[in-house]
């Protein structure tokens, strides 16, 4: 008999609809690299439909052979061809499935391919029920299954003595009632496993018993209820409430570090060589918990497990599962390179965006990856510095938000696709740029326009309304419209559709520029002005007045309302507003002082503007700036020349 590490039971209140509930017993066979599982599922019909079949994901069948949709899309990984004596491939077979009346449903199992016509893909099955599930009713099925564990496959599998088990059990798809997300009729949403794209599942309670060799340390979603030793085996019992998935890991080499943050028991598992990263990971987790709780909503779970994957387990690095995330680092990484913290923060934020607000990762990847990247930037820059959150080494400094922006605008695929793409539709690239970078930049732009406080209200309202549910992009936009309307009235029009249509569902770019700043001394009118006798000559000055013109130009199709800050010779400033829709606009000023500089979007609210350098214009050329960088370039070049000449 072991111990229960958390005195408090996991929250007693029911947080989610608990549609799909699993009791699983699994045994890890390290010799055969197999798992043997028994699973009892209680599924509640959330619709007004009579459901006549169940649909399951068998994700590990994606690694069955080269004919799966996963491999046809991805191509054969070169590192798998290395050792011929080892079989890296995997499979998952349901041996038996019976309903609660004891009817054997096994014979009815059929592989289906809802996304393509690939007959060889075996990642989704349908199981016809002998007794249909009535509206609001429930059914219970018992499954027995065996899985061969993949070696070094994306996100899951084993290598050496490290096991990372995700999407490891036959898992129900989501039955979407009519009107939920984009469903026009009730039906199963159960995609095949694609090369790009992750998961979508219903909330439920997971009771999982994991049997491993007794020297293995296990980390898993949820709370450890007990661990018992039976002969050579150790059985860990976990319970995870109101989650959409259950993941676990095992290795005899894990060492553990813990920290308590309010009600959350943070547990870090690393290999011994990475123990020294403990403080960095745990600090990052504390910061993230604190920030997200304050700005978005409370983290309701009592545990959080961080798995620092070993070097040979990097295939599983950077993933997120309910109350369990994976991170990675390398020993020689200097403290100033904060990829360690960045990854940890990113994966943690996923606890909110797609674990609790369970969006569809395959159909709308921007909703989880983009929102997570947005908060990753906010958290990292807040705690590690706007100029130093990503790198701070030998004078080279870079913040997280600025890095994300540079990454997006520097990519070739920045305008190849838009947010309406499903993850597997990014066939020509652009998945990362569109789903991660661009969405974060778009949300940052929205924050700039509506203000940080209103943005916080928007996101916390969205979280509060949609946690433990399955929102679509449309639902998020609805919340945005409501919150912005409440705080800003009609300032941004009837709604924000114009904004989201451009930045999420469009692929155009944005660039505002101060095209020119001109001033000239005013002259009096020439010719017959006062009477028909006296001809006034050209060039008579009208006192000491100047006419100044500032021309702002929109170089790309995207348009936003922008501010323009105009600076006069005497130091006074004028702030103008422009709806930003026309190609260009000229502002004219008459006064004693000339305009010496102007900046469009001076607070850099329009984060999606691809070039901040041309946002400002000063009539006095900055010769020192040119000299500084020319001098640096000169020295770099001279040193390069001298270094190469060592070879002579």
């Amino acid at each position: 008999m072991g111990w229960c590490f958390c005195a408090k039971a996991q929250t007693d209140s029911i947080l989610s609809p608990r549609t799909a509930n699993y009791d699983i017993k699994v045994e890890l066979d390290i010799a055969q690299k197999k798992i043997y599982g028994q699973e009892k599922i209680v599924w509640k019909n959330p619709s007004q439909d009579t459901v006549k079949e169940l649909q399951f994901h068998l994700y590990h069948n994606a690694f069955r052979n080269t004919e799966s949709t996963f491999y046809k899309e991805r191509g054969f990984a070169s590192f798998l061809g290395g050792k011929q004596d080892e079989c890296h491939w995997a499979w998952q077979e349901v041996q038996k499935i019976v309903d609660n009346e004891g009817n054997d449903l096994t014979k009815g199992i059929e592989y289906i391919h809802p996304d393509d016509d690939n007959e060889e893909d075996k990642t989704v099955i349908r199981v016809p029920l002998l007794k249909p599930v009535l509206p609001g009713g429930s059914t219970t099925v018992d499954l027995e299954w065996i899985g061969k564990i993949p070696k070094i496959m994306p996100r899951t599998g084993y290598n050496k003595e490290y096991y990372f088990m995700v999407q490891w059990f036959p898992k129900l798809g989501v039955y979407e009632p009519k009107g939920m997300r984009y469903a026009e009729e009730g039906g199963w949403n159960c995609h095949q496993y694609h090369s790009i794209g992750e998961y979508y599942a219903d909330f439920g309670v997971y009771n999982v018993e994991i049997s491993v060799p007794k020297n293995y340390v296990v980390g898993a979603s949820g709370e450890l209820q007990q661990d018992t030793i039976q002969g050579n085996k150790k059985i860990y019992s976990y319970q995870a409430n109101d989650v959409i998935d259950f993941a676990w890991t095992a290795s005899p080499h894990f060492v553990e570090q813990r920290r308590q943050w309010n009600h959350v028991d943070i547990r870090l598992l690393t290999y011994p060589v990475h123990e020294h990263f403990g403080v960095r990971y745990l600090d990052a987790m504390e910061y993230s918990l604190e920030y997200m709780s304050k700005h978005v909503g409370a983290y309701p779970y009592t545990t959080l497990t961080i798995v620092d994957t070993p070097f040979h387990g990097i295939f599983s690095t950077g993933m997120e599962y309910p109350t369990l995330i994976t991170v990675g680092s390398v020993c020689f990484l200097p403290k100033g390179v904060k990829t360690t913290e960045t990854l940890a923060v990113h994966e943690f934020v996923h606890q909110y965006f797609m674990q609790m607000v369970a969006t569809h990762e395959v159909e709308e990847p921007w909703m989880d990856e983009g929102m997570t990247t947005y908060y990753e930037g906010r958290i990292m820059d807040h705690y590690y510095g706007e100029q130093t959150a990503t790198v701070d080494v030998l004078g080279f400094k870079c913040g997280n938000v600025v890095f994300n922006r540079w990454e997006f605008f520097g990519s070739e695929n920045k305008d190849i696709a838009d947010g309406s793409y499903k993850s597997y539709e990014f066939k020509e690239g652009g998945y990362k740029e569109t789903s991660y970078n661009k969405t974060a930049i778009a949300l940052r732009t929205l924050q700039g326009l509506i203000g940080e406080n209103v943005m916080d209200t928007l996101m916390s309202t969205y979280f509060d309304r949609w946690k433990f549910k399955h929102p679509s992009g449309r639902d998020f936009i609805e919340v945005a419209n409501e919150v912005v309307q409440k705080h800003h009235g009609d300032k941004f029009g009837e709604n924000l559709d114009w904004f989201f249509d451009q930045v999420l569902y469009g692929s155009d770019l944005c660039d505002y520029e101060i095209e020119s700043v001109h001033s000239r001394r005013l002259t009096k009118a020439a010719g017959y002005v006062d009477n028909l006798e006296d001809c006034a000559p050209v060039g008579r000055f009208d006192g000491d007045k100047y006419e100044s013109k500032v021309t702002v130009r929109r170089n790309e199709p995207l348009h936003f309302p922008v501010d323009i800050l105009v600076v006069f010779e005497d130091g006074t400033t004028v702030q103008e507003q422009w709806d930003g829709k026309a190609r260009s606009k000229t502002f004219r000023y008459i006064g004693q002082d000339k305009v010496i500089a102007a900046t469009v979007d001076p607070e850099q609210k329009i984060h999606i503007d691809k070039n901040f350098l041309n946002n400002s214009f000063t009539v006095n050329r900055n010769e020192n700036g040119v000299r500084k960088y020319a001098n640096q370039f000169l020295l770099w070049l001279q040193n390069s020349m001298q270094t190469l000449s060592v070879l002579i």
Partner: protein, 290 residues
């Protein structure tokens, strides 16, 4: 003592050839300017009137750098290509001028004379090209050997086959010092070969290299120590340069000029180092057994 004497003689030789030193520095500066001028023009055309540039004077600004590279990366790549051309041209020019440097150091008993210098440039050019090529091949072979050694010690470079990254780090710390030591030895032999080639006016470089290896091995402590002494001086100078560089916040005309002068002083010293090393080795060559 012989090493210290040779070290000082090297610097003495440099002082005797101030005009040669200045000439090499001017070539470096002029060729660098061929790429810096278009770069300066590019900055002037694109960002000189941006307030962003003004803000960046107060310190490193990744946002500015990122926007510059993302929006003006194409014209900048043309400037970079020109810079690569400048580096290559300087390499060829250095090959040519090296003959003159050697001629002046080895044969000149009086102070620097342009006649001797240009004569040496023409006389030894092709031999220096061949010698450089041979040693480039040796260095490449050494690099490959070290890479294989690195792989052997690490066990594998595939993360999937390694228990942890520790073997890779360990292999790095073992192999890099070995590589640096042997590479330095090769550079030393190459410098000795150049001196011997000019001393004997030998055409067949195989014999020159063979004899230089013999010379270095029979005077290993002296020659290698002399080289290390120069290397340490260079490291010290680089450290001082970096420290001094940090004193300037390049945000005004005065500090920018200060940084420029400091940088040029450093380059001037780098150019001088090469002459001093050859001068020191030349002294050792003349005084030690061959």
């Amino acid at each position: 003592m012989a090493v210290l004497e040779a070290y000082l003689k090297g610097w003495e030789a440099l002082m005797k050839h101030l005009r040669m030193w200045g000439l090499l520095y001017v070539v470096n500066l002029l060729l660098a300017f061929t790429a810096v001028l278009p770069f300066s023009g590019l900055l002037g055309e694109t960002v000189a009137q941006s307030l962003g540039l003004e803000r960046s004077l107060d310190g490193f600004d990744f946002g500015l750098l990122g926007d510059f590279m993302n929006n003006y990366g194409q014209p900048f790549s043309v400037v970079l290509d020109q810079a690569k051309g400048g580096v290559l041209l300087f390499f060829l020019a250095s090959l040519f001028l090296m003959g003159g440097v050697l001629q002046s150091l080895v044969h000149s008993t009086r102070i620097f004379a342009y006649y001797d210098f240009w004569k040496g440039c023409g006389q030894y050019f092709w031999r220096l090209v061949r010698l450089t090529l041979y040693f480039f091949i040796f260095q490449s072979i050494l690099f490959l050997c070290c890479f294989f050694l690195f792989q052997m010690i690490a066990g594998s470079l595939s993360p999937f086959e390694l228990e942890s990254e520790v073997p890779v780090i360990r292999a790095f710390w073992i192999v890099v010092p070995i590589w640096l030591s042997i590479s330095t030895l090769l550079l030393l032999i190459q410098d000795c070969a150049k001196i011997r080639m000019v001393h004997k006016n030998e055409f067949w470089l195989v014999f020159v290299i063979r004899d230089s290896i013999r010379f270095v091995l029979s005077n290993f402590i002296r020659t290698y120590f002399l080289y290390l002494l120069y290397a340490l001086t260079f490291l010290l100078l680089s450290f001082l340069y970096m420290k001094a560089n940090r004193l300037f916040q390049a945000n005004s005309t005065g500090t920018i000029i200060g940084m420029f002068l400091l940088g040029q002083l450093f380059i001037l010293m780098r150019v001088g180092f090469k002459i001093a090393i050859l001068g020191g080795l030349n002294f050792l060559y003349k005084t030690q057994k061959r």
